[in-house]
Amino acid sequence: MLERIAISAAYLHGEHVINERGFPEYPSGHPLQ
């Protein structure tokens, strides 16, 4: 539950999230993906 709130907050603050099904999705070999 808290994890989902935190992920939602990350999106709202413009962060790129690399959790599974994160957005935006980058190629799996990208250094930060």
């Binding site: 808290l2 994890e3 709130i5 935190a6 990350a10 690399i18 959790n19 599974e20 990208h30 993906q33």
Partner: protein
């Protein structure tokens, strides 16, 4: 994302309510040249954020664990150079650290500070409530 920030906050607001998420820095991920060592976290349940940066670009990974120390420790060590796979969170994190550091990037970890009550059973198997992150 500033990897050196000791603390930062994300605020949710509506007309009547607000939630403030405060992240406290646990430390940088150390890189030996072949493997990563994550900072030592409290042996408590909690939510953590791994920030990975390369130049001006950054990503965050957010996870929840019954024991933060065990979870972060599991992300340390050497890793294979291979693409991410769905469902392989730990192996993906190991590989991500290797790729990021070899490309000149770095990473740091924060824990969510949120006053709350959680069951001791999450840590000890007993049912008494206590304060935790």
């Amino acid at each position: 994302m500033l990897l050196d920030a000791e603390e930062f906050e994300w605020l949710f607001m509506s007309q009547a309510q607000s939630i403030r998420l405060t992240w406290a820095r646990l430390g940088r991920v150390a890189w030996s040249g072949s493997g990563a060592t994550f900072p030592v976290a409290p042996q408590e349940p909690g939510v953590y954020l791994v920030g990975v940066a390369l130049g001006d670009d950054s990503r965050v990974y957010i996870g929840e664990a019954a024991n933060l120390r065990f979870r972060l420790r599991s992300y340390g060590g050497n890793a294979m150079e291979r693409p991410n796979e769905r469902g392989s969170t730990t192996a993906n994190m190991l590989g991500r650290m290797r790729r990021a550091y070899r490309a000149g990037g770095s990473a740091a970890v924060w824990a969510l500070k949120l006053p709350m009550s959680c069951p001791d059973s999450a840590v000890t198997g007993k049912g008494t409530a206590r304060s935790c992150y």
